[in-house]
């Protein structure tokens, strides 16, 4: 009946493989020949100083940017370029560094929107919003309520997200991503601008998501402590190049990494 000493990383087969991907905007290289993989069921951290190309990496993975060269294999299928919604259909969900919520909609609707791909009832049922259409709505509402319960945001269920404090908005955004029941969840600085307590909550949620739903997670995070606690493996980017790829413990000792972090700051946030 004792509490688990530490979470054993259950590393499965490769879910996503990135092979020397390069990306540049009008001459500026955001990424150069980056390769790494994400395995089923792990929590993978992508870290690096500002301008290292972390966010660009995520944007490439979920098809928002098209890399000039390189190969991305997701669930065994190779793809060089794809539209974002295709990524979503493929099972990749995503949260953003500076929130991308639907501000005009309530918490509930935001998360329900995350079910867009799962809801299939045709247009003509939607016109009446009874029978099958309503039945479907109810089913999905139920799933969404489970997520709301999971993220402990029941009290703000019907408040337009625009009016919520930052920390809660982050949670709602996570909720929307979870509603997609993704195989791969990309979190872009999930704890940016949070106070200690909020960070602790968020970490708990991330771990629980990973355990409860077995969701594979790739996250960008600045707070080293958090990275060390959460992640199974860490990729370190600097100037759009991969400078390290190992377990948190090793990365902390890697001198390239240390140099990259102590070295004078450069670049603007990508």
């Amino acid at each position: 009946m004792r509490a688990p000493s530490s979470r054993e990383a259950a590393l499965g087969e490769v879910l996503l493989a990135v092979e020397n991907v390069s990306l540049s905007f009008g001459g500026v290289n955001a990424l150069t020949g980056v390769s790494f993989d994400i395995r089923k069921g792990e929590i993978r951290a992508i870290i690096g100083p500002n301008g290292a190309g972390k966010t660009s990496m995520l944007n490439v993975v979920n098809g928002f940017y098209q890399p000039q060269s390189g190969r991305i294999t997701f669930k065994g299928q190779v793809r060089t370029s794809m539209r974002p919604h295709a990524a979503a259909e493929g099972g990749i969900a995503r949260t953003f560094q500076n929130l991308a919520l639907f501000r005009g909609m309530t918490t509930l609707d935001n998360i329900l929107a995350g079910r867009a791909l799962k809801m299939r009832r045709g247009f003509f049922w939607q016109l009446i919003r009874h029978g099958p259409a309503l039945k479907e709505e109810v089913e999905h509402r139920r799933r969404v309520e489970e997520i709301i319960d999971f993220l402990e945001i029941a009290a703000i269920r019907k408040i337009p997200v625009g009016r919520l404090p930052y920390g809660l908005q982050k949670r709602v955004e996570l909720g929307r991503a979870l509603a997609m029941e993704p195989d791969l969840l990309l979190l872009d600085e999930p704890m940016a601008g949070m106070n200690l307590e909020e960070k602790e909550d968020m970490s708990r949620f991330i771990i629980d998501v990973n355990q409860q739903y077995g969701t594979t997670i790739a996250l960008i995070e600045h707070d080293m402590g958090v990275v060390m606690d959460l992640s199974d493996r860490v990729v370190v980017l600097d100037y759009g190049r991969k400078i390290a790829d190992a377990t948190p413990g090793e990365v902390k000792r890697d001198k390239n990494v240390i140099r990259a972090y102590l070295g004078e700051p450069h670049g603007t946030s990508v």
Binding site: P84, E89, A93, F102, M105, A116, L117, L127, R141, R142
Partner: protein, 358 residues
């Protein structure tokens, strides 16, 4: 204060997701419908029905149409007039070619034609955004206007170049044409508007509405949760134009009883846009408020001098209305940029939390 919500608990999601979850609201709606369907036909005189209620309802429907596009999906359109026209002319052609099919069927069916046209001109919306799109829709407006004038077939080659509404009956009662009584026409318009409003609210409260709103609020994020932007936008164009088309058809067949192309000129587009903005973007009830204000206000203004029989030339009165309406629009935008619907919500909220301020 009026709202006494204690004891109104929801034990099913269906009930919780209802459009009017609060008992008092449901009562309110019932009362309004009762008044609209019973009291007006009995009490309202022909002027009220003809010059106020019928046009008000028709504009409200058009406003709902535009609101679905602009308010819910965030696509600014200046082509409303054109799309309304398509409906009207489509209806004319249909009833001319198949005179024996019930006109009401055609009034509704004509919506499909404007929907098709809407989709066509909506195609660029994937790449074009904001004002650029607005201007693009002007292309639709002017092109359609031109068609209405230049293609005689559309108005059955009538010498006047105008639509002449034929007599059509339903169960022997004249529905369109000169002999149709205002009450009949009013009731038909009302029924169509009520049903279509209900349908619209179904749409916006369901999956489709969420899709549209997510495109409006942040199209990138919308795409990243798997929404196909083009589909969503075209659907919005289609539905929106459908509503405008039906409104246009009703305008000619159930209100004017005959019209020329200039009825669907760009001014009409602007008028409806005013209604949407003043009423409140992204709210159905706002569309009704907007229609009421923008349409009924000028009538009232014109009535004023008459009432106090002030010596004002009708022309001057007309111009004065322009000035006042223009000024009012600005004033409204300054006072409540979110439109009358917002005011309504605030008021309602106040009543709900009464006596507390929040």
């Amino acid at each position: 204060m009026l709202y006494r919500e204690a004891g109104q608990y929801k034990s099913s999601y269906a009930a919780d997701m209802a459009v009017f979850p609060i008992l008092q609201d449901r009562i309110g709606i019932a009362v309004i419908l009762l008044v609209a369907f019973v009291v007006f036909p009995l009490a309202g005189n022909d002027f009220v029905l003809n010059a106020v209620m019928i046009p008000f309802l028709i504009f409200a429907l058009a406003a709902i149409g535009l609101n679905l596009l602009t308010g819910y999906t965030g696509l600014l359109s200046l082509g409303t007039g054109g799309f309304m026209g398509v409906g009207a002319y489509a209806c004319l052609k249909l009833t001319t070619i198949f005179p024996h099919v019930d006109i009401i069927v055609w009034i509704v069916a004509s919506g499909f034609f404007s929907a098709a046209v809407g989709v066509l001109f909506g195609l660029p919306s994937l790449r074009i955004k904001g004002f650029y799109l607005a201007v693009a829709t002007l292309a639709a407006q002017f092109f359609l206007e031109w068609c209405f004038i230049r293609i005689p077939w559309l108005y059955n080659n009538s010498v006047s170049g105008a639509i002449e509404v034929p007599l059509r009956t339903l169960f022997g009662i004249p529905v369109t044409g000169p002999t149709a009584t205002p009450v009949t026409r009013y009731l038909i318009v009302l029924s169509i508007v009520v049903v279509m409003t209900w349908v619209a609210s179904n749409l916006v409260h369901g999956r489709i509405g969420r899709m549209w709103m997510s495109v409006r609020d942040m199209d990138l994020a919308a795409e990243l949760i798997g929404i196909r932007l083009l589909r969503a936008k075209l659907l919005a164009f289609a539905v929106s134009s459908f509503y405008c088309g039906v409104a246009g058809a009703m305008m000619v067949f159930l209100w004017y009883g005959g019209a020329e192309a200039d009825v669907f000129a760009i001014d009409q587009s602007f008028l409806v846009l005013f209604m949407v903005i003043i009423g409140g973007l992204g709210t159905l009830i706002g569309s009704f408020f907007g229609a009421a204000l923008i349409y009924i206000l000028p009538i009232a203004l014109r009535a004023v001098p008459a009432a106090f029989d002030l010596p004002i030339r009708p022309a001057a009165a007309e111009q004065l209305t322009f000035v006042i309406v223009g000024a009012l629009i600005i004033v409204f935008l300054v006072l409540e940029p979110n439109g009358l619907a917002r005011l309504w919500q605030i008021g309602k909220q106040k009543l709900r939390v009464w006596p507390f301020p929040y």
